[in-house]
């Protein structure tokens, strides 16, 4: 379950009038200096990914032969052409389709809830700047310092049938739902874990909006809501997109929270993937699921690159 982080392409430098041609030697030394990280990526990330993807297409010999010899069932390609049997068997499994659906739903809802909450907290702190704002943004960042396993365990206990919430409800004569071992519990846990990063990023985005712009809008007769909508929101698009994409990728591939808080079935793909690999001894099927997750994460990554490219274009125009 590796999560790839896609970087935006650096904006192409525009040749300035004072630019002198560099000597050829320095170009080579720059290449040498840049090569260690590139080699590291190729050896430790690139090659295993290629081998892993080849395994899903039935290339089960060679470097994959050890995994093949220890697994319960594998689909091997006959001859040189790839086979899609592993994909067929995974997609034919109704449990996988259900889990994929849950994964997409949980991801979508968590991203939406996280962005809205982070905006609410950051905006409140930015606009009023009072004590409540400071307390809120401080509290929102706390989960950053709590290991996810411990947080997930605490959330599970809190929302159990005999947990704090249900117990308080009973005292007041209200029957509250128990969200542990339920998909709602996963969304709560994921939001809790994603919120700190979102609040930090959106707060910093909002604080970068100059007071002068907001004041100018207010002077021109704009309401506070109008100033937020027409000035602050457009200027904080990129941090928002970063929050949404990073949250999306990390939630989609998460394991601990759905494993501890979620229901037995349907659950999120991270859990299914681990069980398929370790308990059901079917590494090939697990890799197929990993490729599916990878493709989805790459889709989100593309969105992120698009947002970055758009932002750098618009700043170029503005400048």
């Amino acid at each position: 379950m590796s999560v790839s982080v896609l970087t935006a392409p650096a904006p192409t430098p525009t040749p300035g009038p004072t630019r002198r041609p560099r000597p050829v030697g320095s170009r080579w030394s720059m290449l040498v200096m840049a090569s260690p990280p590139v080699l590291l990526v190729i050896v430790f990330v690139g090659v295993p990914i290629v081998i892993g993807i080849a395994y899903t297409f039935g290339y089960t010999g060679g470097l994959n032969s050890v995994a093949t010899s220890l697994s319960v069932s594998v689909h091997s390609a006959v001859g040189w052409g790839p086979t899609f049997d592993a994909y067929r068997s995974v997609f034919a499994d109704s449990r996988f389709r259900g889990d994929l659906g849950v994964t997409l739903w949980v991801t979508a809802i968590t991203v939406a809830v996280t962005v809205v909450l982070a905006w609410a907290v950051a905006l409140h702190a930015r606009l009023t700047g009072g004590r409540l704002g400071r307390v809120l943004s401080g509290v929102a960042v706390i989960p950053l310092f709590i290991p996810i396993v411990i947080g997930a365990y605490a959330i599970r206990k809190f929302y159990l049938n005999t947990g704090f919430l249900v117990s308080v409800g009973k005292q007041l004569g209200v029957t509250l739902p128990a969200w542990s071992y339920h998909t709602s519990g996963i969304v709560i846990g994921e939001t809790w874990a994603s919120l700190p990063f979102a609040v930090l990023l959106i707060s910093s985005g909002l604080s970068a909006v100059p007071d002068a712009l907001i004041d100018a809008a207010r002077d021109a007769g704009a309401s506070r809501a109008r100033a937020v909508w027409s000035v602050m929101l457009p200027m904080t698009t990129v941090p928002t997109v970063i929050v949404a994409t990073f949250t999306g990728v990390s939630v989609m591939g998460s394991f601990t929270i759905p494993y501890l808080i979620g229901p037995t079935a349907p659950t999120m793909l991270g859990v299914t993937l681990q069980q398929t690999y370790a308990a059901y001894q079917r590494p090939q099927n697990a890799q197929v699921m990993a490729v599916v997750l990878f493709a989805l994460a790459a889709g989100i990554g593309a969105l992120y690159i698009w947002a970055n490219a758009r932002a750098s274009r618009s700043t170029a125009v503005a400048a």
């Binding site: 970087t7 220890l70 069980q275």
Partner: protein
């Protein structure tokens, strides 16, 4: 936006560093000579042994050596090794140094067996010399361990022959445990005595029973297996226990139907992940009956997590499964003599008594051979004749089919 690009690059770089670090650390902890994971420091051990070994003397005269020992499982097993057995071994046999590697919850068991298989394939020394539990079983099943003889480990004659026969001496049992039915005696006056009674009880008391997802721990696995086994003929069951025969899996159909029928009566229709999660629910009073591991139950009682009102019983017809944990010397290991000495030492009555005392594990040798204080530890529960489970590949299929058919 320059800053976001910088941020993304920084995140990518840190991820790379983490992955690079973890790959080097695994490599170093697995290599026999590394000192980071070494339990005994070597230099101080001679002085300690001069002061006298409190447990029992070293059973071997093999030359000084260093070997890598990997174990896996829950925290109780980790504590057993790190706090009790390995320090005692260091005192008893100062000439041996143990590089101890622990894999919590057996998360990397597959990976470790793959490393052993890969080393065997290219004819290199394996990264592990002596393996415990999951790795030992999987390696023994894949033919990646050495057959142990009475000349290497004389105490082999003391262990239960049925447990020894499971891997044909390619792995030695050194402790055992069984799944039992735990219940809250204040809520359940007459616990079920047979599987049939238990199934009837579950339906009659909705929401009061659960078992963990079989892929996440053996106590739930044993419950599932016991229900499935009740519909399988004895001859076919023996085949399922010793090898991989997918053709026989059609006989599970009836058992899975029974299990599916229980789902509406299961606590919140949830099968929690892990043996411990079920014990938690039991201890919090959310449920009043569940299958549990004997050692985890007794340990939880000892620590006060479960009160005196919680009791265990074994059902009949069929009984829950149980079994031994095994130790194996990996094929191609250059430290087999030291490994054999280690196993011989573990099978001595004092160490076996220590296993009973610290994790309430069943001994691999006869109860009557143990120190007197430990002989009555289990109050008459038969610790030797445990009903074995199906083989690991059959178990993998069973878990996969359970996940597809039972929950939800």
């Amino acid at each position: 936006m320059r800053s976001s690009t910088v941020l993304a690059v920084a995140v990518a770089a840190s991820l790379l560093t983490v992955s690079a670090c973890s790959s080097t650390s695994t490599a170093s902890s697995a290599s026999p000579g590394s000192s980071s994971a070494a339990v005994s420091a070597g230099s101080s051990s001679a002085a300690v042994s001069a002061a006298g070994a409190p447990m029992s003397g070293c059973p071997s005269s093999a030359a000084a050596d260093t070997f890598t020992f990997s174990s896996d499982g829950d925290v109780n097993v980790q504590n057993l090794w790190q706090q009790t057995l390995l320090p005692a071994f260091k005192k008893a046999c100062p000439q041996f140094t143990v590089n101890f590697v622990f894999d919590i919850h057996s998360a990397n068991a597959n990976l470790n067996v793959s490393k052993i298989a890969a080393a065997d394939k290219v004819g290199q020394a394996p990264p592990i010399d002596v393996a415990d539990d999951s790795v030992a079983e999987a390696a023994a099943q894949a033919g990646l361990t050495q057959k142990i003889t009475a000349a290497q480990v004389p105490a082999i004659s003391e262990v239960n022959p049925a447990a020894l026969a499971r891997f044909d001496s390619a792995a030695l049992p050194y402790r055992g445990s069984s799944v039992l039915l735990a219940y809250d005696s204040t809520k359940v006056a007459n616990p079920p005595k047979t599987l049939k009674d238990l199934l009837a009880w579950i339906i009659a008391n909705p929401g009061q029973f659960t078992y963990n997802d079989p892929s996440s721990g053996g106590s739930g696995g044993s419950f599932v297996e016991t229900v499935l086994d009740s519909y399988v003929s004895a001859a076919d069951l023996t085949k399922m226990q010793s090898g991989y025969t997918p053709a026989l899996e059609s006989q599970w159909a009836q058992g899975f139907t029974t299990l599916k029928g229980l789902t509406p009566s299961i606590y919140q229709k949830v099968y929690p992940n892990g043996n411990q999660a079920v014990l938690d629910l039991l201890g919090k009073g959310e449920i009043s009956m569940a299958p549990v591991w004997s050692d985890q139950f007794l340990a939880a009682k000892g620590q006060g997590q479960l009160g005196a009102e919680y009791k265990v019983t074994q059902i009949a017809d069929p009984s829950f499964t149980g079994g031994a944990a095994y130790l194996a010397i990996i094929k191609g290991s250059k430290h087999a003599a030291a490994g054999a000495a280690f196993i011989q030492w573990l099978l001595q009555p004092q160490q076996q008594g220590e296993i009973v005392k610290s994790i309430a594990g069943f001994p691999a040798i006869s109860m009557t051979k143990l120190p007197t204080a430990e002989q009555t530890a289990f109050g008459g529960v038969d610790v030797q004749n445990l009903r074995p489970g199906v083989s690991s590949k059959m178990g993998a299929d069973m878990q996969s089919q359970w996940a597809a058919k039972v929950p939800g």
